[in-house]
């Protein structure tokens, strides 16, 4: 009988008890445990077109008017989340920069880090321009800090200048792999970093012109874009896995929700702008380019207005993010501001030419266009002409055009639909009030006197 009890006890302990399992039972076979720096950079790059391809951005710059759910374009006071940008590209880029295991088999490690820094700076620049003060120095630290404080935009700008300089300085000879933007060409990355710095510097023209001028010239000296082949472009593929956002909306989902605005057509049609046939299709009803008044709510018939051009909604349409023409417009403006010694007019003409080449693929009609009295450079209207033409050029990157509108006030004929003015920023994600309450409230207090609003102004916007 005793034996029986002993057997029972032994059996129980054999069956349960020991705490060692097969080594690999809790090793996840479904996901990789290692990622190369360049694979992470490539994934971050996939987020680039998302910076531009957004109806909200196009509404901000009044490129497109909503035909169906007009309410969305009437500048509702609703939050816009920046979480996706931190969790997506920035988390990847931070992982590359923080990694101590980068392998030179994907190219020189300093180059991998430099590229990650340039892209990180670019994403942060976009974020701060849209929202104002945002988490930066305490951000992307994972479990170390789930409630990062918001840094001032001024601090972020200054730090990004430094980051871009560091990136420029650390590059060495040798290309990197998995580069879906520049095919590993470090000279292009170098120019990109400096170009971002140049454009960021210009953004400070009103708030701190001395820093702006200094950084602008430094960046210029370090080497910026010199042709359209340097452009930061995301090239979509004729493949549903990597397709253009607008193709998904307009073609896949059959959504004729966006017409070109009256404002844009009025800017382009009277001067026979050669870019208009690319930007838009003629209205089906009459074969003419007809813009829709931004914010128009009454009985819109999509056949009566110009909708997005077939090149714009192509499945493999490129998304232009930073372009040579933009650099030329910036230099023209800098020349006008006497930051640089060059003449304004040739830069202005060159900017327009490069824009037309970029959008239409040829320089046909450039001269005729430049000869148009409205377009031809007029030194008394230099800032306005540069501003308006830059707006035309930045088509389909509404957020960037909106930033330039906020800084310069051009174009000066944007409308206020239903009495709602064009906003000055995006409202913070409303779940920051749950997830990061103290810091969120401090940032709103510091910038907007406690009142979160799309009409609060960011630091550089005076």
């Amino acid at each position: 009988m005793k034996q029986t009890y002993i057997i029972v006890l032994l059996f129980s302990f054999i069956i349960g008890g020991c705490s060692n399992f097969d080594d690999d039972i809790n090793t996840n076979p479904n996901l990789p445990s290692q990622a190369s720096g360049t694979q992470l950079i490539a994934n971050a790059s996939l987020y680039l077109p998302g910076l531009a391809s957004s109806p909200k951005g196009e509404f901000m710059a009044q490129y497109l008017a909503e035909t169906q759910y007009v309410g969305a374009s009437l500048y509702p006071e609703e939050s816009t989340s920046f979480y996706g940008l931190y969790q997506g590209p920035l988390a990847n880029l931070q992982a590359v920069i923080d990694s101590d295991g980068l392998s030179a088999s994907q190219g020189p490690v300093p180059n991998q880090i430099a590229v990650a820094k340039i892209l990180r700076a670019y994403f942060y620049w976009n974020i701060t321009d849209r929202w104002g003060d945002v988490p930066y120095s305490e951000a992307l630290k994972g479990a170390e800090n789930f409630t990062p404080a918001y840094d001032t935009q001024e601090f972020i700008y200054n730090d990004l200048f430094q980051e871009l300089k560091d990136a420029n300085a650390m590059m060495v000879a040798g290309s990197i792999s998995d580069d879906i933007i520049y095919g590993g060409d470090m000279s292009k990355w170098k120019k990109l970093g400096n170009t971002i710095r140049l454009l960021m510097a210009l953004r400070l023209s009103e708030v701190d012109s001395s820093v702006a001028m200094q950084e602008f010239n430094d960046a210029l000296a370090a080497g910026v874009f010199t042709s359209n082949s340097d452009n930061l472009v995301f090239r979509h593929l004729a493949d549903a896995n990597s397709q253009n956002y607008w193709y998904g909306q307009v073609v896949d989902q059959n959504r004729e929700w966006w017409a070109i605005t009256e404002t844009l057509v009025e800017e382009m049609k009277p001067v026979n702008d050669p870019r208009l046939p690319v930007y838009a299709d003629p209205a089906r009803a009459n074969g003419e380019y007809v813009g829709l008044k931004f914010g128009e709510e009454e009985n819109i018939g999509t056949e009566e207005f110009s909708l997005l051009g077939s090149d714009i909604i192509a499945q493999d349409a490129p998304v232009y993010l930073i372009t040579y023409a933009q650099v030329l417009f910036a230099m023209a403006e800098a020349a006008e501001r006497n930051w640089i010694s060059e003449d304004v007019e040739p830069l202005y003409n060159m900017a327009i030419e490069q824009s037309i080449v970029q959008w239409t693929g040829s320089s046909d009609g450039v001269q005729e266009f430049l000869n148009n009295p409205e377009i031809a450079f007029d030194e008394n209207r230099a800032m306005e002409q540069i501003g308006n033409q830059r707006w035309v050029h930045l088509y389909m990157f509404g957020y960037e055009a909106w930033s330039e509108w906020r800084r310069t006030g051009y174009p000066n004929d944007l409308v206020s639909p239903n009495g709602a003015d064009v906003p000055n920023r995006l409202s913070y994600p409303d779940n920051e009030a749950f997830n990061n309450q103290v810091n969120y409230e401090a940032a709103v207090q510091r910038q907007f006197n406690g009142q979160e609003s799309i009409y609060g102004k960011v630091w550089w916007d005076l």
Partner: protein
């Protein structure tokens, strides 16, 4: 291996045909010992043989036996008696009734039978016949309202076997994943779910149990009851005991059970029938002047449906008989109802059961075919079950329970973007549904209702692709989702009685299924043609060893258990989906993918090793103490911290043994404390990368949004419970009261964090969530007469939850969120408040008066999406079942109720937004329709306070702007509804044929019944057309918003039960 054992069991069972010598005939009469009433149907068996008989109508029996043999008399509800034959030829027996409730035996954890009176914690048992009142197919669904402290929420019957969810004692997990463990005859089975919150609801897998096989269901509510299941039993256990054959006289019982019910869609949301499709009250016109219906607008803000001849959608199809014709623009008030068909549910079952002295067996087969109320939907299910046991010797018994279930279904889609949910959300009131039925013209062109506008010059529509919505018949017949599942579960066990007081047993338990899901999107609809196929395989094995020790001395009884268990799970899946479209119509295959298809394979392995012991002491049948301890080692926890102990202790005192008060037949006080733990899913302690899109041959990888935690610890639930169990008047009135406090600590949750940290969420040990509540269960037999009996079962429970803490620095946890038209809403939990607050945009109100603030355009102003509307959880719920037996008739009715709780209805919001709700055609106090122009006295009257001036304002505003752009889009406060309801969920009217008729028929018994499932909502606080008892869809574990809910289904039918 298992198959071999089963085969062996069969062979042995059928070889038991021993014959015994027959020495003499003994006769006698069996009566009830107190009142001398004769007892028919008592088993009289010769002990140790399979020989026996049954007493006749007058209690007489006659049997041939040997002098040395012993007769065993047994009957349900009486204590079994044995009598040595000796020289007697007449043996009259007086049987002693088992006083109901006093010696109830319940099946507790690990399948151990215990005297209910000895338990120090609450359990509540539901008999299989109650669950089967109206042949509900999902056992979880049929528990609704039947057990105190158990809340069942689930899908409408239209979902065809959709998910039924169960919560025991409130929400105990911050993450909402607190589903109890389902155990069938000791075998834990998976109750997994393959549904999302929209599209098809494939249902909870627990419904693979054949309801007619269920003898009883015992719900172990707290950790005390489930401590012996360790990690997997933290949220309670649903113990299902299946019917078995009975030992005794060799006998074969064949039972046929069949039911047929008709299913009707019901409870439609009211809609207006004055204005038709469009966005303006004026018709648009073609070049020739013909007015036409604006097909591009899926809303009903259009012209009045006054019979004006117009070009309707059919007139733009050259293939249509009405091509280019004008037809009257009129309302089709029943266009939504017209879509639904009459479904049916045909259920046939047969069971064969029996046994002899050494064996028992029961074999069952069930076939269910359901055709849904939505066109082209069905669910077929087959269940095959075998229960058998065989005493190999006096000490050694082998037993098995094997179940096979097969499901084959084509289910409707739900949610705001799929299926028929859109009818009340986005539709034109002028659409003639019957006209859409033939959705394909002879030349293969599909007929849709939502198209681009015609070219204003030609009057033709060149692009006939639907804009936002497909013809619902096209969806139903072309875009089909199919799923099927094959499943085996059961066990084979051996038990060996080493000593009279010591039994050793071992069992192998398994649950194996393969789930297949296939979805199709056809050419010709609004979506890109698509095909997906998924195969999901799960194997859960439990290897169990148990030693049971039972000994009783004079006053002292001991009950001990020692055991060990190894749980092994292996789950794998292979999913493939086409990308970018299909290469040719009708070819649904991954090969047809235009672009690189989505492919993923997944493997999960997990093991838990456990050992446990329990000791129970009883003194004088009055005082009882139980203690248990369990150790679990989980492979999913960090290797150096993966072993945990869970203790429990409980005690009870049967004080009725101590007091001498006749009215009180039974009284017990009980109290318990227990801990139970839970671990996490496999692979959550490592930090992997995600696999991103492949761009032009470059594979990309990314940092996942959820941050895993290598230092995670198991969570612990601490539960304290006390109760009293009282029976009065010879147990005709029973009251069971329980008070409990349950604290769930260190919950493993995926906590939403600021995205600026680089992660959207992090797996952490967080928080303390506390539930307090009480449960009252009342059973009464107000009338007990020979041919009139009335039974009442009532229960109610009240639960209050509080989130006591989350994580350092975090005082909000977001359980879920939705975004519609850029407007967010959340289900949040705040520290110091009840679990699960609805959060969204509310009216801005004047602080002093509470009046609504109005903007300069007199439209209401709204807050941002951070307004807390309070908890969604109900205050109380319960059920009431009344059963009457009058002669051969029996009537039963089940009522479910819930008080409090709330939800947000997107269906209602959108019905208003799109001008379908009757509210949008109301008459204002000027006597004008709200849609009439403001200058004519139309418009919606708005009162409030001007935000600018602070003055009171009463004004009329344009109905479309008000409902479409403000109320119906931005002010969630308007669309919150109280979830209280009282529902008549089941009714049965049965008739059992009497003995006299039976004698002429070749059957032992025949019973017929009229049955009704979900016949009526008696009362609800929420508006008509939204069923608050079925608002959660698919795998959504907490009901907080409703969107595109399927219609309610009411079933009426007939049930026939024949025993041979």
């Amino acid at each position: 291996m298992k198959n071999k054992i089963t085969l062996l069991a069969f062979m042995v069972i059928f070889q038991f045909t021993n014959l015994f010598a027959q020495e003499k005939t003994v006769t006698g009469k069996v009566t009830e010992i107190n009142d001398g009433m004769t007892l028919p149907g008592v088993n009289v068996i010769v002990k140790g043989t399979n020989q026996g008989t049954v007493t006749d109508m007058d209690g007489f029996y006659s049997i041939n036996v040997d002098e040395n043999q012993i007769l065993v008399f047994s009957s349900l509800g009486f204590e079994t008696k044995e009598m040595k034959v000796g020289s007697q030829t007449t043996i009259n027996i007086g049987m002693v009734a088992n006083l109901e409730g006093l010696d109830e035996v319940v099946i507790t954890a690990l399948g151990i039978s215990r005297d209910k009176k000895s338990l120090g914690y609450a359990t509540q048992e539901v008999a299989g016949e109650d669950l089967n009142l109206t042949n509900e197919q999902n056992v979880i669904g049929s528990l609704s309202g039947r057990v105190a402290g158990v809340q069942v929420t689930g899908a409408s019957g239209a979902s065809m076997g959709g998910t039924q969810k169960i919560k025991i004692r409130g929400v105990n997990s911050i993450g909402g994943g607190d589903q109890p463990l389902i155990v069938v005859d000791g075998t834990p089975i998976s109750n997994a779910n393959f549904a999302g919150s929209d599209e098809s609801d494939y249902g909870n897998l627990g419904q693979d149990i054949n309801p007619t096989d269920i003898e009883s269901v015992n719900v172990l509510k707290g950790p005390a009851a489930s401590a012996l299941y360790g990690i997997r039993g933290q949220y309670g256990v649903i113990m299902i005991t299946t019917k078995k054959g009975s030992k005794g006289v060799k006998d074969v019982q064949v039972q046929v059970n069949s039911s047929f019910t008709v299913e009707r869609a019901g409870n439609f949301m009211p809609v207006q029938n004055m204005y038709g499709g469009g966005s303006s009250q004026q018709f648009r016109t073609l070049a020739n002047g013909d007015p036409y219906v604006d097909l591009s607008v899926d809303e009903s803000w259009g012209p009045k449906m006054d019979g004006t001849p117009v070009r309707q959608v059919f007139s733009f199809y050259p293939q249509d008989d009405e091509y280019q014709q004008l037809t009257p623009f009129v309302a089709h008030p029943d266009n939504i109802k017209d879509y639904y068909e009459t479904g049916y549910n045909f259920n046939k079952g047969i069971t064969v059961s029996g046994g002899n002295e050494n064996t028992t067996y029961r074999l069952s087969f069930n076939d269910t075919r359901i055709e849904g109320v939505e066109p082209n939907t069905y669910l077929d299910r087959n269940n095959l079950g075998l229960n058998a046991s065989l005493d190999l010797s006096k000490k050694l018994t082998v037993s098995t329970n094997i179940n096979y279930a097969r499901n084959d279904a084509q289910r409707p889609k739900q949610g705001s973007e799929y299926g028929t949910g859109y009818f009340t959300q986005w539709f034109q009131r002028n659409i003639d549904m019957n006209r859409l039925k033939d959705y394909e013209y002879e030349d293969g062109t599909y007929l849709h209702w939502n198209l681009r506008r015609p070219d204003s010059n030609t009057g033709e529509i060149d692009n006939l692709s639907p804009l936002y919505w497909d013809n619902p018949y096209f969806d139903a017949y072309e875009n089909t989702n199919k799923d099927s599942r094959d499943r085996f579960f059961g066990n084979v066990g051996l038990s060996y009685k080493v000593l009279p007081e010591l039994e050793l047993s071992a069992a192998v338990r398994g649950d194996i299924y393969t789930q297949n899901i296939e979805t199709r999107t056809a050419f010709g609809g609004k979506r890109t043609p698509d095909f997906t196929i998924g195969k999901y395989e799960n194997k859960e094995m439990n290897y169990e060893f148990l030693a049971l020790y039972n000994k009783k001395w004079d006053d002292l009884s001991i009950n001990g258990t020692l055991g060990g268990n190894i749980f092994n799970r292996r789950y794998s899946s292979l999913y493939q989906g086409t990308v970018g479209g299909l290469s040719s119509p009708g070819f649904y295959n991954i090969d047809a993918s235009i672009d690189r298809p989505n492919v993923s394979n997944y493997l999960l392995r997990k093991q838990i090793r456990s050992m446990f012991g329990m000791l129970s002491l009883g003194y004088k049948d009055t005082y009882f103490v139980d203690a248990s301890i369990r150790n679990d080692v989980s492979s999913a926890l960090p290797e150096d911290n993966n072993s945990y102990w869970y203790p429990s202790i409980s005690g009870s005192m049967v004080f009725s043994e101590l007091v001498d008060w006749d009215t009180l037949s039974f009284g017990k006080l009980r109290a318990s404390y227990a801990q139970a733990g839970s671990d996490l899913d496999a692979y959550q302690t490592s930090l992997p990368f995600g696999v991103g899109t492949v761009y032009n041959g470059t594979n990309t990888l990314f940092v996942p949004d959820n941050l895993n935690n290598p230092n995670i610890k198991p969570s612990f639930a601490h539960s304290y419970e006390a109760g009293i169990d009282l029976r009065f008047f010879k147990s005709r009135l029973g009251i069971d009261f329980t008070y409990y406090v349950q604290k769930n600590k260190n919950q493993i949750i995926s906590l939403d964090v600021s995205g600026a940290s680089g992660y959207s969420s992090s797996t952490i040990n967080a928080g303390l969530i506390q539930n307090k509540g009480y449960e009252i269960a009342v059973t009464a037999k107000p009338i007990v007469m020979d041919n009139f009996k009335w039974d009442v079962n009532f229960n109610i429970n009240r639960n209050k939850s509080e989130v006591v803490e989350l994580a350092p620095g975090i005082d909000v946890y977001t359980y879920g969120s939705t975004t519609y038209s850029s407007v967010n809403s959340y289900l949040n939990s705040y520290v110091g408040e009840a679990f699960g607050s609805l959060v969204g945009q509310a009216y801005q109100r004047d602080e002093a008066t509470g009046k609504i603030l109005l903007g300069s355009d007199n439209m209401p102003l709204y807050t941002d999406a951070t307004h807390n509307f309070g908890s969604v959880l109900p205050d109380f719920n319960g059920g009431l079942q009344n059963t009457f037996s009058i002669g051969n008739f029996n009537i039963a009715a089940m009522i479910d109720f819930q008080g409090g709780g709330q939800f947000f209805s997107r269906s209602k919001m959108l019905a208003v937004r799109t001008g379908q709700d009757p509210l949008t055609v109301a008459t204002n106090d000027n006597g004008m329709n709200v849609r009439d122009p403001l200058e004519d006295g139309g418009g919606v009257k708005v009162t409030g306070v001007s935000a600018e001036t602070g003055e009171d304002v009463t004004a009329y505003v344009d109905a479309r702007s008000y409902y479409r752009n403000v109320l119906g889009r931005r002010i969630y406060e308007e669309w919150l509804y109280d979830a209280s309801y009282i529902k008549l969920s089941e009714v049965r009217l049965g008739y059992t044929f009497g003995e006299k008729i039976m004698q002429k028929l070749p059957f032992k018994s025949v019973a017929v019944a009229l049955i009704a499932r979900n016949p009526a909502m008696i009362w609800q606080e929420a508006p008509e057309g939204i069923d608050p008892s079925a608002i959660s869809t698919g795998s959504q574990s907490i009901s907080w918003y409703e969107s595109g809910q399927l219609v309610s289904v009411r079933s009426y039918g007939l049930n026939l039960n024949i025993t041979f």
